[in-house]
Symmetry: C2
Subunit: 387 residues, 2 copies
Amino acid sequence: MSDTPDAPAYLDPLTGRTWPLDAPRWCAEADADGDRRPLLLTPLPGIGREAIDPAAPGLWRYAAALPFRPAAPITLGEGRTPLVPRRFAGGTMHAKCEWLMPSGSFKDRGAAVMLSLLREQGIVSVLEDSSGNGGAAIATYAAAGGLRARILVPESTSPAKTVQSRAAGAAIALVPGTRQDCADAAEREGEARADGIFYASHNWHPFFLQGTKLLAYELWEDLGFRAPDNVIVPCGAGSNVLGCGIGFSELRRAGQIESLPRIFAAQPANCAPVARAFLDEEPAAAAPTIAEGTAIARPIRLREVLGVLEESQGGAVMLTEAEIAAATLALARDGLYVEPTSAQAAAAFGRLLAAGTIAPEETTVVVLTGSGLKATPRIADLLGVAG
Amino acid sequence: MSDTPDAPAYLDPLTGRTWPLDAPRWCAEADADGDRRPLLLTPLPGIGREAIDPAAPGLWRYAAALPFRPAAPITLGEGRTPLVPRRFAGGTMHAKCEWLMPSGSFKDRGAAVMLSLLREQGIVSVLEDSSGNGGAAIATYAAAGGLRARILVPESTSPAKTVQSRAAGAAIALVPGTRQDCADAAEREGEARADGIFYASHNWHPFFLQGTKLLAYELWEDLGFRAPDNVIVPCGAGSNVLGCGIGFSELRRAGQIESLPRIFAAQPANCAPVARAFLDEEPAAAAPTIAEGTAIARPIRLREVLGVLEESQGGAVMLTEAEIAAATLALARDGLYVEPTSAQAAAAFGRLLAAGTIAPEETTVVVLTGSGLKATPRIADLLGVAG
């Protein structure tokens, strides 16, 4: 790393202020109100196909696109997931099978890259807050990389949900109160950095998005070095929307593609802050949803997520619980056994096709993010059998 | 297909009798005692690297190695799983992550190929007996291929175990009695072929092994078109032992490798008919094991499995329940979250290394077959937490 003016840096997208990457950092300093803001990185130039390393495992073939290259990536072979054309809802979707990752979800891209970069910078102990796919991915790659992981989860979390993270050796700490209380506690611990622990949050740290952006590079290569016309992703905090926005923007900057694909965010109507804001609908209180992974009432990067949807001329879709359930079962009946959270993207595909927003002859990628094996009780319930 | 003398054919390895492939068939005719025998195919010539189709999805890149090519393979992108070098038990194993398949286990190779070939021959409705990974794989690929699937499971099977197959649309039939009673019922139904249903058993049908054999081709390519020195697989009915035996033999026949890797079967001491026979130990009654997927008391291809272990100069290892449990947790602590059944292969790696049977400098592949997400209650139990 160097700190020349063109070197990649942390960027506060609201103020334009930058910080060098050399010193680990997970947020901008709190403002006068005590509010922290999430960071991005300054725009990177992107890479062309000649910079792909065919000998590197999984997503590390695109390592030249990262802000710096870790000498020893933490890898379990994540990435290079299948892109499978399937008939669905009267059209053909290209299902990107992101659940076929070591920990069972797309979050492995972000976790592998973030922890590899942080370990390169000397971090040996990480903090995270998530009882879901994010926590499992951080626990998995911390284990693979010899890092200690401490994961805060709401005390109401069922023990089954944390078995995977516990098995990876993560210390699970139960936090009284809501999911938001848990996030707040993590931010406080992260700021304190007691015992040298670093807040490697899948929501906060911009290195996580450096991993999720590699989905864009991979889709580009999957499709013969072309961008798809549309990409539909389940959207909670928006890491896949942002990842696609960053990645495809880099590819455009590098002259590899002419324009961004349209990026669409699928959200449960019961918790749709991104979609409501994009569609100019009144905010509404969040209600429970079977699409648990996207039940994020206050996405910390709302402004940037909306920016990607706008710039790409994409959009947002709000799905009813019935639509999400039906899509979950329809995908399973086609052999694609994914979480209801993932199935939203397929449900949105059907909606966008029916509305004529996307055309059948366009190349539309539907990103399926999490394994159905993590949602057995939920799917049993949808089937009306005991799980 | 042609029926010239050199055309691939079904083969009864005991008698040498052959049948043309054109007519679907899952066993040799029952003998005078009413016993059915499983079939193989006549030896195929194998393929070299020039016959690999780089544009085909997943394992279909090796489709030229199949007895015939289906015009429309049923594919969800199965195969091309990561091969990841990891330190384990004082050595370096090459973990082949076969659980990163659409249905969560290695059985997708066999299911995708078998059902693709059978569908090409006009089969539209299949019968299977398995409450585990085999049933899930058949249900998944039947769904993906538009085939009807009926799956027999012992009536004692917990509802959670069949959620995945039910979600794929398979009809689940509960059979009173033991697992063996269930297999016997499937054989009877398979023979009767009522309603045109075909017994597409992952244990019986030789087309299944045509799928599992592609693991050998893939390892060969993963390693730069070389065979590993050793391959260690969890062994129940032996489909991975046989698949490796068939696949590496074809590669040798095609002049691509000089000799077979040594193939080692890992079995739970509590149910180890293959290992006991190979090691000349007295047969013993089966006892329960946490390695459920390998709890096969009477493997129908015992003779052929032993043949592969002998011909390859490999071996067999019997693992205690404590060893299997310890390996499961040790793998998870390294980020490899797999079923106890899979972990046996890693436990066997440690044993073989300690005994000097395999050397640290050799290239040893450890095949990790099934996802830990299918074994949450079991792994919770090992961790001493509620699952």
